[in-house]
């Protein structure tokens, strides 16, 4: 199960760094993990070359749900782009809405009302909790702990209820649009949110006891999938993957946006940089988000406008320019690069999803020499969402 220091039976490395794998030798086997496989994160697959039960080479394949969003956005007016951005990332769509809206606002010179700024922050933290809930279920599931997923799905569903009453939708909220947000908080929202948060905290306690204080989980996760902190910049690693390696990369602190400068929190970090450390960083980050949601609801203004005055959106033109807006999503740095050319349509939009680097170059490097049975857990621990890779 563990790494064998004796490499004599494994393929030799060519001068260019690739491996000399002779498939006809009978020593190697090609295995496809995904796209239909319980041990895969969404619609992607990993092409594994194994020697015995050890992976000698892995290639990530994406493209199973490429929808050409960046191109579609170029064919839509600035307001028409708003409903499709969320679809780039299903489990945590709000960063698309925020980054796109903020990029448009910056290039169009719009000022977002104070209350809208807070509601946006609230929504992003709610989304982060949900995203982590999906991750925890997946991470535990990759080790056979199915019950964790049931609990976190329940907790996520409660948060979806809160999303539904705030934004009018559960998954694709379409609530943060250029200029602000659609509406203020509904009556009694804070109260119901508090009940939800309490339930999430209770769930997290159970998760801690059953998943994190668990001999099986520890045995397999500790020491698995080590990311050398020196690799972080080379591979564009951000978010919990970086924080678990001891580097406190957090856009909320590094480049404060929205209401974060007025909120009290510390980025969660780890030291071991393995699967367990990354899971634990995320577990503790849920609690930070729960705390942040409480702070937001207490500190935010309760009235005032939530939308800036927009020009007639049907013929909205934005002067030539380019900008990049980032935010700290549950997986790391999420960003929108928007280029405008003076017309009523974006010239180019590029979505930077953190999984783009995590699931491709980084995963392909990390997967080598790992036991087949650990591939799923390793992959899940990077918390990758394929739709944001291929967009």
């Amino acid at each position: 199960m563990s790494y064998t220091p004796d490499r004599s039976q494994y393929p030799a490395m060519r001068p260019d760094g690739t491996l000399d794998i002779d498939l006809t030798s009978g020593k190697y086997l090609k295995l496809w993990q995904g796209p239909q496989h319980p041990g895969i994160t969404g619609n992607m697959s990993v092409e594994l070359t194994v020697c015995g039960d050890e992976v000698v080479e892995g290639k990530t394949h994406v493209g199973y749900l490429h929808r050409g969003f960046e191109k579609l956005m170029e064919r839509r007016t600035f307001i028409q782009v708003f409903p499709i951005v969320c679809r780039v990332c299903v489990p945590e769509p709000d960063f698309n809405e925020y980054c796109y809206a903020a990029a448009v606002e910056e290039l169009a010179g719009l000022q977002v009302p104070e209350q809208a700024r807070w509601i946006r922050t609230l929504i992003l933290e709610m989304g982060r909790v949900n995203s982590y809930m999906m991750y925890l279920g997946g991470q535990a599931g990759a080790f056979g702990l199915g019950v964790i997923g049931q609990w976190t799905t329940y907790a996520r569903d409660l948060m979806l209820d809160r999303f539904e009453e705030l934004t009018g939708a559960r998954i694709y909220h379409m609530f943060i649009l250029p200029g602000g947000v659609r509406d203020g908080l509904p009556d009694g929202f804070a109260q119901r949110m508090e009940e939800t948060l309490a339930e999430i905290e209770r769930t997290m306690k159970d998760v801690y006891e059953v998943m994190f204080c668990n001999a099986v989980f520890k045995t397999r996760a500790v020491g698995l999938g080590y990311i050398d902190p020196a690799l972080l910049d080379q591979y564009g690693v951000t978010g919990p993957n970086a924080r678990a390696a001891g580097v406190a990369k957090d856009v909320r602190k590094d480049h404060p946006y929205l209401a974060y400068p007025e909120l009290d929190f510390e980025p969660v970090t780890g030291t071991e940089s393995d699967v367990y450390a990354r899971a634990d960083v995320r577990r503790r980050d849920v609690l930070v988000s729960v705390d942040l949601i409480r702070q937001i609801l207490a500190k935010m203004p309760k009235e005032g406008p939530v939308m800036a005055k927009l020009p007639n959106v049907l013929h909205w033109k934005i002067p030539r320019g380019e900008t990049y807006i980032r935010g700290e999503c549950s997986r790391g740095e999420y960003g929108y690069y928007l280029v405008t050319d003076g017309s009523g349509y974006p010239r180019r939009i590029n979505v930077r999803g953190p999984s783009y680097t995590h699931a491709m170059a980084l995963l392909e490097r990390m997967i080598v020499n790992v036991n087949i049975s650990d591939v799923a857990a390793l992959m899940v621990s990077l918390h990758t969402y394929p739709p944001e890779i291929e967009r």
Binding site: G168, Y172, M174, L310
Partner: protein
């Protein structure tokens, strides 16, 4: 790893004693949230079929289609949105942009149907069980994707303007016009309502783009009197504007004027282009008003030789001699007319048909004759005392005022009438009084109450600012004459203007009598056409309907060589006259090119 790590996972067993968290009957026990964006609802009475929802839908999920039993009318296309739920993404941009607020979304999200085509339906027309759902997404207050308020139009202060006949309204500057033009959603509901079907959304788009040459080309495609209409048009278009439902209508008239303000005469000439090569045909037009000159413009462009005969000393017809200068400066008329002249149209002023030249002569020398006489005779109230010489007709006074004749400005005057002509003469008199005596004493008495007033609200407001007293719902009973001099007008309160059959038959409350002092009484209750120039024989030969010359859709009379156009057949309105001019020109062109007319 510790002993705890072995034991702790077993705490999961405590969940055996918890209640399940699943909803037993989600189809019934789980309604959508109050703001849920579910299936659409459309208030079909409120909807005007402007299609803005279709324009904004980024999925192409909405079609605009006719609906049984819903007729097209002014300001309502009669179309209604049909939604294809195979494409809808529930973003609610259609609800956010809806110009009337008719469209919304219910909180219903469950609907099972085996026929996929059933998921393409017209909300509000095809009955659904959520049609009356109380909850669902409604556009939140203050959440607007278009600007609802009209840009303020600057104008001269009352105390400043009352002393002169200078134009009151400033016109928009480029920045203001761009903002106002930006409000337009380009639905085009206005186009059909405009008698001339001007390309309104397109010329407003030209303002947004700052392309005034394109703008003026578009204006001249349908209206050679854009300078005039940009100031005094009755702007029926604005009453059909989609923006009026949840805000102010677009200032279409001012935007038209703005284009004309921005272009030079050379630019207009370029936009108008040149006349076609000579056709060898000749047309005589009687009357240099908007209808006659529009026809002249069209016919000249097609290469016909056009001569316009005008009895007064300047062209423009009622736009010059009926509308006061403070509303429509003479330069604006001159500019529009000069462009028409530049196409080779000859305008012979001071030439009265009937005396200076006869209709028969015109008929002999031309392939077709068009009469566009306008309404130059004022109607009389025929109440006692109106035979006095100091009881005048508004049209006569306005004509004299334009000609610079002194008709003896009264120190105090009472105007009978509630239309724009009444306001025109009242405000003209007020200016003359201010100039000559330093004080304004003008009273307007109208049959209609303020809720049904005929004059534009702006006119009433501005007249009030200028010191004119407007009395509504007053019926004139007698002009009081003492010692041979007019001293004022006696009126009764109007109970109703029309009888139960809807005929004009005012009834009065005789106990509510008022005396309005004034040394001159002006009747401004309507106009009619002086058709004396036709002569008895021709009048006898022509077909008439209820006092009006009978013409076909192309303006042709029962005599094949004679056409009529404008106010005399259509009623008083510049833009209708322009539209009529186009129609008649097309009819004349076809006739003289295909028939051996005469």
């Amino acid at each position: 790893m510790s002993f705890k790590d072995v034991v702790s996972p077993f705490t999961a067993w405590k969940n055996l004693f918890r209640d399940p968290v699943t909803i037993r009957d989600p189809l019934n026990d789980r309604p959508g949230a109050a703001r849920y964006r579910g299936f659409h609802q459309n208030d079909i009475e409120k909807c005007i079929g402007c299609g803005t929802c279709e324009t904004i839908c980024q999925n192409g999920a909405i079609d605009m289609l006719p609906v049984e039993g819903r007729a097209t009318k002014q300001g309502d296309s009669g179309l209604r949105p049909r939604i294809d739920y195979g494409r809808c993404c529930w973003c609610a941009l259609c609800v956010d942009v809806c110009m009337t607020g008719s469209l919304s979304m219910s909180n219903e999200y469950k609907w099972v149907e085996s026929d996929p085509d059933a998921f393409r339906f017209t909300p509000g027309v095809d009955a659904k069980h959520w049609d009356h759902a109380e909850l669902g997404y409604r556009r939140p207050e203050g959440h607007r994707l278009t600007a609802e308020h009209r840009l303020h139009m600057g104008e001269m202060a009352p105390e400043e303007r009352i002393g002169s006949f200078a134009e009151i309204v400033d016109g928009y500057d480029v920045a203001q016009a761009k903002l106002e033009a930006d409000r337009c959603v380009a639905c085009g509901l206005c186009v059909a309502t405009c008698p001339a079907h001007m390309a309104i959304p397109q010329y407003i788009a030209a303002i947004r783009d700052g392309d005034y040459e394109r703008g003026v080309s578009l204006l001249y495609e349908t209206n050679p009197f854009s300078g005039i209409c940009g100031r005094v048009c009755t702007h029926k278009c604005e009453s059909a504007c989609a923006s009026r439902h949840e805000g102010d209508p677009i200032a279409i008239r001012w935007l038209k004027r703005h284009i004309m303000d921005q272009v030079s005469v050379e630019q207009i000439r370029r936009a108008v282009g040149t006349a076609a090569p000579s056709s060898g045909r000749k047309v005589a037009i009687v009357g240099a008003g908007p209808a006659g000159l529009t026809a002249a413009f069209d016919l000249a462009k097609r290469g016909h030789a056009v001569t316009v005969f005008e009895a007064l000393d300047k062209p423009g017809g009622m736009t010059r001699f009926g509308i006061p200068e403070y509303r429509l400066p003479y330069e604006a008329i001159d500019q529009d007319v000069d462009i028409i002249r530049s196409l080779g149209v000859e305008i012979r002023c001071n030439t009265r048909v009937g005396s200076d030249v006869t209709l028969d002569e015109l008929r002999e020398k031309h392939d077709a004759v068009l009469i566009a006489l306008g309404l130059q005779l004022g109607r009389a109230t025929r109440v006692p005392g109106t035979d006095h010489p100091d009881v005048r007709k508004a049209v006569d006074l306005l004509r004299q005022a334009t000609a610079g004749e002194d008709f003896g400005t009264p120190r105090s005057a009472v105007v009978i009438g509630g239309g724009n002509v009444a306001m025109d003469i009242a405000r003209t008199l007020a200016r003359l009084q201010k100039q000559q005596f330093g004080a304004v004493k003008v009273i307007v008495t109208a049959l209609e109450d303020f809720a049904h007033f005929l004059a534009d609200p702006d006119e009433i407001k501005e007249a009030g600012e200028e010191g004119i007293a407007v009395f509504d719902a007053r019926g004139p009973q007698q002009v009081v004459v003492e010692d041979g001099k007019v001293t004022g007008l006696r009126t009764w309160k109007v109970k109703a203007i029309f009888d139960e059959q809807g005929r004009f038959a005012p009834s009065y409350d005789e106990t509510d009598e008022l005396f309005h002092p004034g040394s001159m009484i002006v009747e401004a209750i309507g106009q009619m056409t002086d058709t004396a120039l036709l002569g008895d024989a021709l009048t006898e030969k022509l077909a008439w309907t209820r006092g009006r010359l009978q013409v076909d859709a192309g303006g042709r009379s029962s005599e094949p060589w004679l056409w009529a156009a404008g106010d005399m057949v259509r009623g008083p309105d510049v833009i209708s006259a322009v539209a009529d001019g186009h129609r008649v020109a097309a009819s004349i062109h076809t006739a003289i090119m295909t028939e051996q007319a005469k």
